[in-house]
Each structure stands twice: as structure tokens, then as C-alpha cells.
């Protein structure tokens, strides 16, 4: 009798970094859902670090997009400072769209996603775990890189904490919203444009409040209000997005 209770667990073990003592199935018992979620998160992080090159791509893309504006509009720092919030957020949005393709691609390809769906664990929680891992790998680095881009656009160093805060919170919402579109377009070839078309309208409130918060950070105003609204959007996203993504994944796997 296999120690893991099903041959399917063996697939997950081979593809991922889960140790022998820990599986989602734990023999004939169901592991507690938080353990399962933690495992899914750890697995995603470990797998991603094996392909470090891929992690850098969205960041490099963000840097290049930010560079387009001084070259295309004007190298004058005063003008760049004015448009800096917009440039940062447009870049962050586009970079996170790029990164969304990685969210489910590998797992859908090697069957892990199907195992998640069949495991009897709450797919909603597993989607939340995957999205959390995705944010740690893309959104958080973006938030840390944003100040560098902002400085290159003539923003003063005093604005840095506010910028990091607003991009960090906003990118959580972007990852959550993006997970829905990514789940809906699973397996569609060359779905990049469609994924953007689906995700961007839903991301616009995040863009609006995020840019507002960043602008207030730059001008030194009170950014608590838009930041709180961003946080409210995150809360809304955390409660609804994993649910929608789980439903979408089940539909895509049918």
C-alpha cells in the first residue's frame, strides 16, 4: 500500500518539493486545510526559485516600461515627476499582467492543478495560497523596485515609503484579480491579449486608487485615505477572488 494513499500524490511529489512526510492527502486522512494551503504556497515558492531567471523577467519588463516614458515624452525631471504615479502604475499593471501567465501554467501542464481540484481540499484556499505565492514572487519585488523607478523619474527620496506601501498593497489586489482571468483562460493558446482584456477592466479601481496614493506620497500629502481604499479592495479581493478563481479552474479542467 503506497504510503501516500494514491498514485496521484506521487505525481505531486515528483513535480514539487514536498517532503515524504507531508502531502495533501496524508494517507487516508485529509490534512488540515491550512497545512495544505501552506504546502501549496511553499511548493510554489520552492519551484519558482529553481527558475530564478523567470522571476526577473517581470521586473526587467517594469524597468524597461518605466524607461520608455522619459525617452518618449521628455527627459525633464520636473515633467517626469508629474507623470511619475501614472508611469509607475501603468508599468506595474503591465508587468503583473505578464507575470500572471506563470500563475497556473506549469501546474495545469503537469496535472498538479487537477490534483488540487480532486484532492477534496478546499480549492478556494489552494487558489488563495497560489495567489499569495505569486504575489510574494512578483508583486512584492515590484513594490521594492518601484522606488528605484520613481527616483529615476525625479521623485524625492522622502516619497519612497509611501510608494512602496501603495504599490505593495495595490499589487496584492492585482494578483487576486488577475488570478480570476488566469483561471478562466487556462490552456488557451496565446491567451496574453485576452488575459489582459479580461483583467484590465477589473483592475481599474486598483489603478485609480493606487495612482492617487502614489501621487499623494510624492507630493507629501495624506495618503492614508486612498491607501485604506486600496486595502478595502484587497479585502474584497481576498474574500471573492479565490472563490471565483476556484470556480473558474474547475470549469477549465472539466
Amino acid at each position: 500500500m503506497s504510503r501516500f494513499g494514491s498514485p496521484a500524490a506521487g505525481v505531486v511529489v515528483q513535480a514539487g518539493a514536498i517532503t515524504r512526510e507531508s502531502t495533501l492527502w496524508a494517507g487516508s486522512h485529509q490534512a488540515p486545510i491550512l497545512d495544505a494551503a501552506r504546502l501549496a504556497l511553499t511548493r510554489d515558492l520552492q519551484l519558482a526559485f529553481r527558475k530564478r531567471g523567470q522571476l526577473v523577467q517581470p521586473l526587467a519588463f517594469f524597468a524597461m516600461v518605466t524607461m520608455l516614458f522619459p525617452l518618449a515624452i521628455s527627459p525633464e525631471l520636473a515633467r517626469l515627476r508629474e507623470i511619475a504615479p501614472g508611469v509607475l502604475w501603468a508599468g506595474a499593471l503591465l508587468a503583473s499582467l505578464l507575470a500572471l501567465e506563470f500563475l497556473f501554467r506549469d501546474d495545469a501542464y503537469d496535472g498538479t492543478l487537477e490534483q488540487y481540484a480532486l484532492s477534496g481540499q478546499s480549492l478556494t484556499w489552494l487558489m488563495f495560497a497560489k495567489t499569495a505565492a505569486h504575489w510574494l514572487l512578483t508583486g512584492l519585488p515590484l513594490a521594492l523596485m518601484a522606488p528605484l523607478a520613481a527616483l529615476s523619474l525625479g521623485v524625492s527620496a522622502a516619497a519612497v515609503p509611501g510608494i512602496v506601501a501603495s504599490v505593495a498593497v495595490g499589487s496584492v489586489a492585482l494578483s487576486l484579480i488577475g488570478s480570476i482571468g488566469a483561471a478562466l483562460t487556462l490552456g488557451i493558446k496565446r491567451s496574453g491579449a485576452l488575459l489582459s482584456l479580461l483583467t484590465l477592466p477589473l483592475s481599474l479601481p486598483v489603478l485609480i486608487f493606487g495612482a492617487r496614493a502614489t501621487q499623494l506620497a510624492i507630493s507629501g500629502g495624506p495618503l492614508l485615505a486612498p491607501l485604506e481604499l486600496l486595502a478595502a479592495l484587497v479585502v474584497l479581493g481576498v474574500t471573492l477572488a479565490p472563490l471565483a478563481a476556484a470556480a473558474a479552474v474547475r470549469i477549465s479542467l472539466e
Binding site: 485576452l194 477592466p201 481604499l229
Partner: protein, 245 residues
């Protein structure tokens, strides 16, 4: 109370037959109301005190805008019904709605721009209403794009249904957030036609157009619905009779 009529609405052959029979009852009243509304709006209604004859764009702009929102709501409700109760006919209704809604959203944006230029001095403004309407167009296009990208009809139905429902949650958020953002930036003054104070000679054609467009939506929906129902049917017997006529 018997629910038979409700259960029959889930039966594709019954719906096909009902749609065929009902279409003229929507199409002809729609035609009459639209023609009557056009006559009333273009000829009978007096020119506006402020906007002159330019205000007559309202008779095509307001109905188009109304259509864009009403059709999306219908689509979202049908999608939700199809998703929750797994009723194919509901998915067929949702699929039928999208092209209609998208085309009238486009018409609303264009007619709005043509109205905006003489009245506001610009074809476009990033104010809440215009921006929300543009986003609505993208929601429609995304919905149709997702359907087109998925070959399996059942998966397309269910995936686009999730999208439609999530999109509905988004519409009030977008509208509210854009209003909030605009108020921080001191919104430019927006001219509004105060409907309750409209003269009857102006208001009646508008109501006729609104009702006429709604009935038009019903007629076009019924025609499209028949095709969508056929697309989702595999069993031969009732289809054979339909296509042989």
C-alpha cells in the same frame, strides 16, 4: 401555483418554438414605437432653449446607453442562472445578449461624443459616466473574446458566465471609484438634462424610443436565442423537424 411554465423554459424545443412565435410580438411594436419616437423627437418636439436642435441626439443616445446597461444586466442574470442551476437555455440567452449589448455600447459612446463636441467643446471627457461606459464596452469585448477563445461550448458557457458575474460586481465599483477620484480632482461641470423637468412634447418621444429599443432587444434576442439553442442541442428528433422546414 404551478411551476410548469418555469420548467418548460428550460426545455430547448419549447423555448425554440416560443421564441419563434414571440418574435413578431416584439418586432412590430418595436418598429412602431421607434418610428413614432423618431417622428416625435425629430419633427414634433420643439428645439431646446439652451441646446437648440442639437439636443435631439438624446433620442438615440439615451436609448443606446440604456440598452448597454440593461443588456449587460440581463446577460449577467442569465449567466448566473445558467451557472447555478446548469440550465443550457440560460447560457444560450447570455450568449445571445453580448453582441447586442456591445453594439449599443459602441453606439452610446459615439452618439455621446457627437453630442459632447457641440455642447461641452470636446468629443471625450474622462468623467465617470463616459469612463464607465467605455469600461463596459471592454467588459463586453472580453466576454465575447473569452467565448471565442474556448472551443468547447460547455466550457465557454461556464467560463464566460463566471466572467459576466464578476464583471457585474465590478460595474458599481468602477462607477463609484471614478466618481470619488474625480471629486478629489475637482470634477469639471457636467451638463445634464434634468429629465423630470422635460416638457411632455420632448419626454414622450424619449419614452417611446426607450420602450421601442427595449422591445427591439427582445426581438433580436429571440432570433439569436433560437440559433444558440440549436448550437447546444445534440439530440436529433426535434431538430430534424425544425431544419427541414
Amino acid at each position: 401555483m404551478t411551476w410548469t411554465w418555469f420548467h418548460r423554459l428550460g426545455s430547448p424545443p419549447y423555448v425554440y418554438g416560443l421564441a419563434t412565435r414571440l418574435t413578431p410580438w416584439f418586432a412590430w411594436p418595436a418598429a412602431l414605437l421607434i418610428i413614432g419616437g423618431l417622428w416625435g423627437g425629430l419633427v414634433l418636439a420643439p428645439p431646446d432653449y439652451q441646446q437648440g436642435d442639437g439636443f435631439r441626439i438624446i433620442y438615440v443616445h439615451a436609448p443606446s446607453a440604456w440598452m448597454s446597461l440593461m443588456v449587460y444586466t440581463t446577460m449577467a442574470i442569465a449567466a448566473a442562472v445558467g451557472l447555478i442551476w446548469r440550465i443550457k437555455v440560460a447560457h444560450a440567452v447570455a450568449a445571445s445578449c453580448a453582441p447586442i449589448g456591445a453594439s449599443f455600447t459602441f453606439a452610446a459612446l459615439v452618439t455621446g461624443a457627437l453630442w459632447g463636441q457641440p455642447m461641452w467643446g470636446t468629443y471625450w471627457e474622462w468623467d465617470p459616466r463616459l469612463t464607465s461606459e467605455l469600461i463596459l464596452l471592454f467588459l463586453y469585448l472580453g466576454y465575447m473574446g473569452l467565448r471565442a477563445g474556448l472551443e468547447d461550448t460547455q466550457r465557454a458557457d461556464r467560463a464566460s458566465a463566471v466572467l459576466a458575474v464578476v464583471g457585474v460586481v465590478n460595474v458599481p465599483i468602477i462607477h463609484y471609484s471614478v466618481t470619488w477620484w474625480n471629486s478629489l480632482h475637482q470634477a469639471p461641470s457636467v451638463m445634464r438634462l434634468a429629465k423630470p423637468t422635460m416638457a411632455a412634447s420632448m419626454l414622450v418621444p424619449l419614452l417611446m424610443m426607450l420602450l421601442g429599443f427595449t422591445l427591439f432587444f427582445g426581438a433580436v434576442l429571440l432570433v439569436r436565442l433560437r440559433g444558440e439553442v440549436l448550437n447546444r442541442e445534440r439530440s436529433a428528433s426535434w431538430i430534424r423537424e425544425i431544419v427541414s422546414t
